[in-house]
Subunit: 225 residues, 2 copies
């Protein structure tokens, strides 16, 4: 095999992964699955696609070996087959944030919103967290909380905010997080809580950022010994 053929074939291999993220709906599916395994039904509701189209995109992900499934009762539950998909999504989002004006604009307009809707970064939260003057709430669907959540967080899904609101103290700051920097749930929760008189703040991070930080800490610890 000549070098050109080798290059063509190896880049064709890379492209099998690249093609996956060339469709908005497939990126959204991977984003959702990165929070927790989900049935086709759930993915259909979350993405607002037809069942057939959702199934077809999931099979494209299967072919690229990025997801796998198991059957339970008459449901099919899909999950990520490789955790590094999270890094791929992160790389795409970071570049889009820096290079695509629309992305920045949309985020500012719908997630960050206004200055009186306070946002804290992961680092800021980590510095404050030991003071015990706040309560951290996870406003994602409960199955995502059950799959993984930030240590010490309370599960209060956004649809159940009103029912569980009695769990929240008025005298402490309420810090809400959801799927990450492009998820509207935490913004919505903070806005609704503030209207009700709570001190509420949005944490701009999800479980992946938190886990990443946690590993970095552990690595440092190991290296320092």
């Amino acid at each position: 095999m000549d070098p050109r053929t080798f290059k063509d074939q190896i880049y064709a291999g890379f492209t099998q992964i690249g093609k996956v993220v060339s469709s908005p709906k497939r990126i959204e599916l991977l984003d959702l699955l990165s929070q927790s395994p989900k049935t086709v039904e759930t993915l259909v509701k979350e993405t607002a696609m037809s069942t057939a189209n959702t199934s077809k995109h999931l099979h494209a992900l299967l072919e690229a070996q990025l997801v796998r499934y198991e059957k339970e009762k008459n449901y099919v539950i899909y999950q990520l087959a490789n955790e590094k998909v999270v890094d791929l999504l992160f790389a795409i989002k970071t570049i889009a944030e820096e290079q695509i004006e629309d992305v920045t604009r949309l985020r500012d307009e719908f997630i960050v919103r206004s200055d009186d809707l306070e946002t804290i970064t992961l680092e800021e939260w980590l510095n404050r967290r030991d003071t015990n003057e706040h309560v951290l709430i996870d406003v994602r669907p409960q199955e995502e909380y059950v799959n993984e959540h930030i240590d010490g967080a309370l599960s209060i899904p956004i649809e159940a905010l009103n029912e569980h609101i009695s769990l929240l103290p008025m005298d402490k700051e309420v810090i809400a997080y959801c799927r990450g920097a492009y998820c509207v749930y935490a913004t919505e929760a903070v806005e609704r809580l503030k209207v009700l008189g709570y001190q509420a703040v949005r944490l701009e991070a999800g479980v992946h950022e938190w886990r990443e930080h946690y590993h970095k800490q552990t690595d440092d610890f190991v290296r320092k010994r």
Copy 2:
């Protein structure tokens, strides 16, 4: 704007980046530009595409804001507009390596080749490098070496290996590197050197992996103080 419209638009934004890596030739262009800025002419030769098609793909990269260009004489020189493209390519390659069998197979067959063609990782090299019992050579085109190279490396482009071979000592180990884990140049150099009686070894890393390591070291240093 309702939440669904917001999601559709934000994922459409991400997809502008994702679409770029859905074509093997565009991944190859980004890969080449990640080594050094290049003229259209050079990219045409490296990718074996027609000039018109190369130009068209470069304009697709321009539209996604991933490259920029400057004109010099009657040449147009393209370069990456965002260094994080390297992270994106790395994420894709890592996943492809783990999930796509063809990629692993091709790499073993054409890069790693046989057991008597010794390969060392970046970590192994970093541990050995202070012993002064070897010489490190960069076998990429000279313009890429000039743009950035591993500290202490000698530039011996693969096409000029025979001419410059007198620079290499027979009594020291020769360690060759090129663009990274999927580049054939270093393998070719090591094979040719071994035939001529040199002790030659392939370093499985490029400037990006080296730079990444260098930053991590610096960060640790800063954090430890």
